[in-house]
Structures are given as structure tokens and as C-alpha cells.
């Protein structure tokens, strides 16, 4: 029977007060750890998602909203821009890569994004099965979409207009799943991807932009006529090319290519354009060009994300303050618990001294009790915080397009073990000192 075991037995002989102290400590530390886990995953997601997008061009509106909607798939789009602008920039040799993004439709609350294959490469997506989309109405789906909606390669579905609630369904045409992506923790996991042309086909005959515009309700914009003239003829050429290219694939009752060719260039709209690997003069050029258009803007995501992070700082501080507050209460709880338990054990302390325990040994045994309580509190906190995070994570997945998990462990969590031990030691200090100074003779004479 050593001192450590004695301390352990003393704690276990008073399970309820011990549990209360542990629980308070665990709740206090859990709050801090959940915050850390959320912050870590959010930062990682934001960095992974945002790092490769150097510029976003979209309809005028809130700059942050444009970034959130087009890059992070969180908010609603600011509006639409004409595809003509995309085609115009496409001819600029300084711009190596640009990705059109067209949003507004969904299937069972999963967003449908009209884009090109570069979008999948941007987020390092890899196929799990099937092939990448090529033709209109073909779709690639993220792993979460596949598992949650039970879709697989070869399945067909009818999308709807609207991102949260389907305002009306586009039942004339069906999407066809041609590929399922591997899970990689990016926005791709929760998206349905299809060529931009699919969106135009879906919306053909619905009366163009007024139907298509979403969210803030911005009027979709058209590039000035003189800029467009060139690009429109370009589009016409592109579509002739597509027409020939795809002609022999189509056996269906609907000729998509002729339908596409009949869509007025003014009705060919996209939500935004993403520019990966854009820097220097090319970036300045696009910025100026876009910002000079009456209803368009170009936004660099990095400062916007920074701004958003800054806006979150006060909330983070409040949560940190709350966790400290609870931890301090926990400290008092351990302190009062030990003091209470020692009051009843005064005679036992004197007895230990009679049996040969030195003052130092008695001091250490009480400090051990504080440390044991705090280490147990920390272990309880690991259970609470990670299962709590998992719970919050499943709720947050519905709010954001990201998955938060409780089953990751950060090395910084072990700092909280040290914090816990410090709390245990500090709260045991006064009780231990009291035990250290017990007057044995006087105590035994009572």
C-alpha cells in the first residue's frame, strides 16, 4: 500500500463529491477542447478550400458572400454574370486557368454546381468509380451525396430549382450519374457536379435570368454589347463544334445540342468564375476588367477570409472566457471537496504520522488526491469533448458543406492535461498544507 494508492482509495471512498469535481473540470476543459477542435478543422477546411483560388469574379454584391458562395459553397450566390465575359477572358493568353461556376439548383438539398472538370482538379478530387462528366446532363457526385442519397453510377435523378427548398423541379431532363468521387474532406464531398451547359438546358424556356437569379435577388447582368459581340460569335463557334462532336453520341429523343444552340447567348449565365494560379499582371488585368463592368466585381478571397476570421475572434474569446470560468469553478470545487474530506480525516492524517509517515509524505498524499482528481477529470473531458464534437459536427454538416468530426486528436490537447494537473495541484495546495501542519498530539487528544 503506497501513498499513491492511498490517495486513490481516499478519492474512491467518496465517489459523489469526487465525481462532481471531475465533472466540473471535464466540462470546463471540454468547452476549450471543442473550441480548439472546431477551430482546427475550420481553419484546415478554409485553408484547403481557399488556398488555390486567387480571384473570384461574380455579380456585384457582398464581397464576402461571393467568396462564401462560390468558393466555400456556404452562402447564397450574389447573382449571375453572362457567360460572355468568361469567353472573353478565355481568349486572354495570360490567364492560364479559369473555372466557371453555376449554382442555383439542388437535388434533395445537395447543391448542383455547373462547372468544368478543372473544378474537380482544383479540390484534388479523384474518381472512386465511373468517369468524369463530359456532356450536358452527366453528373459526378461527391461521396457524401452518394452515401446519403444512395446514388450510384448509372442512376438518374430530377433536379430542382432553388438551393434549400426546391421551388420547382426540372422534370423534363434527368441528370445521369456517370461518376462518384472519392471522399477527400473538401467541398466536393457534398456537391453534384455537371457541365455548365446542363444548367442552361435545365433553365431553357423558363424565361431566363429573372427565374434563375437567386438569393439576394440581384439582377443578373449582361456584359456591355461591344464587349459581348466578339464573345458571342466565339460561343456560337464553340457550340457548333460541340454539336459536331457530340452528334454521334446522342440517340435520345431530345437533341440536346440543337437545344443548346438555340439558347440565346444572353441567357447563358453563370454565377461566378474562379481563377486558380492567377498572379501579377494577369490578376490586376482581370481585377480591372471585371470591376469596370457595371454589375460585376472581382474579389480576392484571402483578405475576405481574414476579415471573416477577425469577425469571429470576439466569439472565440467569449467561449474561451467561459471555459476558463468553468475551469476556475472546477478548481474551487476540487479545493472545497478536498478541504471537506480532510476535515473528516484529520484524525486519519494524525494517525498516518503516528504510523511513521513524515510531514512531507502527508503533504504529497493530499497533492496526489488533487492530481488524481484532475487527471480523471481530464480523461472524462476527452470523452466528453470528442463525443460532443462528433455530435456538434453532425449538426454543423447541415449548416455548412463541411464535415466536422470528433475523432481527431490534436497534440495541443495534451496541454490541457498540464492545465488540469496544474488546477489539481493549485486547489490541493492549501488542504495539503493544512494536513502538513496537523498537530498530531492535539488531534489525537480530542
Amino acid at each position: 500500500m503506497n501513498i499513491l494508492r492511498l490517495s486513490w482509495k481516499n478519492i474512491m471512498s467518496k465517489p459523489l463529491p469526487s465525481l462532481l469535481s471531475m465533472l466540473l473540470l471535464a466540462v470546463g476543459l471540454s468547452t476549450a477542447i471543442i473550441l480548439k477542435l472546431t477551430e482546427h478543422q475550420l481553419t484546415e477546411n478554409i485553408n484547403n478550400t481557399g488556398k488555390d483560388v486567387k480571384l473570384v469574379v461574380g455579380a456585384k454584391g457582398s464581397r464576402l458572400q461571393l467568396v462564401l458562395s462560390s468558393v466555400f459553397q456556404i452562402d447564397n450566390p450574389t447573382g449571375n454574370i453572362n457567360y460572355g465575359f468568361y469567353s472573353l477572358l478565355k481568349r486572354n493568353r495570360m490567364i492560364k486557368e479559369m473555372i466557371p461556376v453555376s449554382m442555383g439548383d439542388s437535388y434533395k438539398r445537395k447543391r448542383i454546381v455547373g462547372t468544368n472538370q478543372d473544378y474537380i482538379r482544383l479540390f484534388s478530387g479523384k474518381l472512386k468509380e465511373g468517369v468524369l462528366f463530359e456532356k450536358p446532363l452527366e453528373a459526378n457526385i461527391g461521396s457524401v451525396v452518394a452515401s446519403e442519397l444512395g446514388l450510384k453510377v448509372g442512376d438518374e435523378f430530377v433536379g430542382g430549382h432553388g438551393m434549400e427548398e426546391v421551388l420547382h423541379s426540372h422534370d423534363e431532363y434527368k441528370y445521369k450519374v456517370v461518376g462518384v468521387l472519392q471522399r477527400n474532406g473538401s467541398v466536393l464531398d457534398n456537391l453534384i457536379l455537371t457541365p455548365v451547359q446542363t444548367v442552361w438546358i435545365m433553365h431553357a424556356g423558363h424565361g431566363g435570368d429573372s427565374e434563375y437569379t437567386l438569393g439576394a435577388g440581384d439582377k443578373s447582368m449582361h456584359a456591355p454589347e461591344e464587349v459581348l459581340e466578339d464573345s458571342l460569335s466565339q460561343i456560337a463557334k464553340e457550340h457548333k463544334h460541340e454539336h459536331h462532336h457530340h452528334n454521334h453520341h446522342d440517340h435520345g429523343e431530345v437533341n440536346l445540342d440543337s437545344l443548346l444552340a438555340n439558347i440565346d447567348p444572353k441567357d447563358r449565365e453563370i454565377t461566378s468564375i474562379l481563377f486558380p494560379n492567377l498572379s501579377g499582371n494577369a490578376k490586376i488585368g482581370v481585377l480591372n476588367n471585371a470591376n469596370n463592368q457595371p454589375n460585376m466585381m472581382a474579389v480576392d478571397p484571402a483578405p475576405e477570409i481574414m476579415l471573416l476570421k477577425n469577425k469571429l475572434t470576439p466569439f472565440v474569446s467569449i467561449i474561451i472566457a467561459i471555459s476558463w470560468f468553468i475551469s476556475i469553478i472546477a478548481m474551487f470545487s476540487v479545493f472545497i471537496g478536498l478541504l471537506n474530506s480532510l476535515r473528516g480525516r484529520k484524525y486519519e492524517i494524525a494517525l498516518m504520522r503516528v504510523l511513521g509517515a513524515s510531514k512531507a509524505k502527508v503533504l504529497v498524499s493530499i497533492l496526489f488526491e488533487g492530481v488524481i482528481l484532475s487527471v480523471l477529470g481530464f480523461l472524462l473531458c476527452l470523452v466528453l469533448s470528442h463525443s460532443g464534437m462528433e455530435l456538434i459536427g453532425s449538426w454543423m454538416q447541415n449548416e455548412y458543406q463541411y464535415e466536422f468530426t470528433g475523432w481527431i486528436f490534436l497534440s495541443s490537447e495534451f496541454t490541457y492535461l498540464l492545465v488540469a494537473i496544474a488546477i489539481g495541484l493549485v486547489s490541493a495546495l492549501i488542504p495539503a498544507y493544512k494536513a502538513y501542519n496537523t498537530d498530531i498530539s492535539e488531534t489525537l487528544s480530542k
Partner: protein
Amino acid sequence: MVKINGLTYHYSSEVQLKFPDFSLSKGEQALILGQSGCGKTTLLHLLSGLLKPNSGAVDVENENISKMSGARLDNFRGANIGIVFQTPHFIEALTVKENLTLTQTLAGKSKNVDKVKTLLADLGVESKLNSKLNALSVGEKQRISIARALVNSPALILADEPTSALDDKNCDAVLKLVREQAKKHNSTLLIVTHDNRLKDQFDKRIEL
């Protein structure tokens, strides 16, 4: 083996206690008699080093414990002096066995469960080995506390009114056990009491 010489202790300037000199040889058994308030417990605390005398010396095993202090004194006490208290107290969180093995380790000796079992058997409480203390009767507790005083085979056993809380039958039994066990372990036994039932059973009596 045990010797006191010119021992005084002052609680205050009004309450000053002076103790008669005496000495006991190894294995000797003696009684210290006196009415309440005459300083019996004080003497016992002086003998075990729990109190420091204002003057005089207490020698146990040829060591002047009045001069010892700190951990050395605690250690010496644990290893050489066993005390039986008037009301038996234990570490309540532990079982009988754990209380006794803790007594061994606190005295710096190694844990010896066999010795604990033998002792409990000698005292007729072997069935209580794994009991919690709050499940025992007063008589049983007193036997366990005798076992605790003996478990390190100390040179000196001090008993403070060990029988005053017991009825005649238990008084005789407990006294018999203490004396037998002290003899068996070749320990010097000093019983402090005002219990007149014990008076005639000891040859050596010191009156305060």
C-alpha cells in the same frame, strides 16, 4: 530499553506537569495509573515523540527521542513504537488488510500479508481481513488496532486506556491478548489507564 529522566511538560505557566523517573527493561510489562487530567496521555505522547518535553529525556532503544525531529523521528516512531488508542481510529477508505499493510509500508518495512493474517488469527479476527472498518464492532476494532500496534513487531507498545470502552468480558479478553502478543513479539508493554480492573494484574505499577 525505555527510560525517562527528569521529564517536565508545560501546557502554560499554570499547568506544568512533572513526571516521575522510571525505566523498563526489554519485554517488561507495566501499568501507569492516574486519575483523569493528571497527564497520562501527555506522558504517552512524550514517550512516543508526539510532544517535545520542556526538560528531561526519553530514551527508547538507547536513542534519546526527545532530541530527534522531523522525518527521522516519524520513521523511528513508525518502526519502533506501536500505539493502541483509547478509541480505535483507522483510515476509513481502506480495508482491514490495507490498513495493516499501510502500517508496514509507512514504517519503511515491506508489505507482508502473511504476517497480517497470522496476527489477525491470533487475535481471533481473521475473518475480517477484507472488511471495511465501518462494518466492525467496537471490540473487533480494538483487536484490529492491537494488530496494527504489533504488525511491525515494535520494541515498545504503548496503550492508552485500551480497555476503558469495553465491558468486563471484553476487557479481560483484550488485556490478555495484548499481553500475550507483546510477549510473543518480545515487545516492552506500557499501559496507561485509570481502569482499576487492570490494577492487580501487573507487578510493575507507576503512579502519577
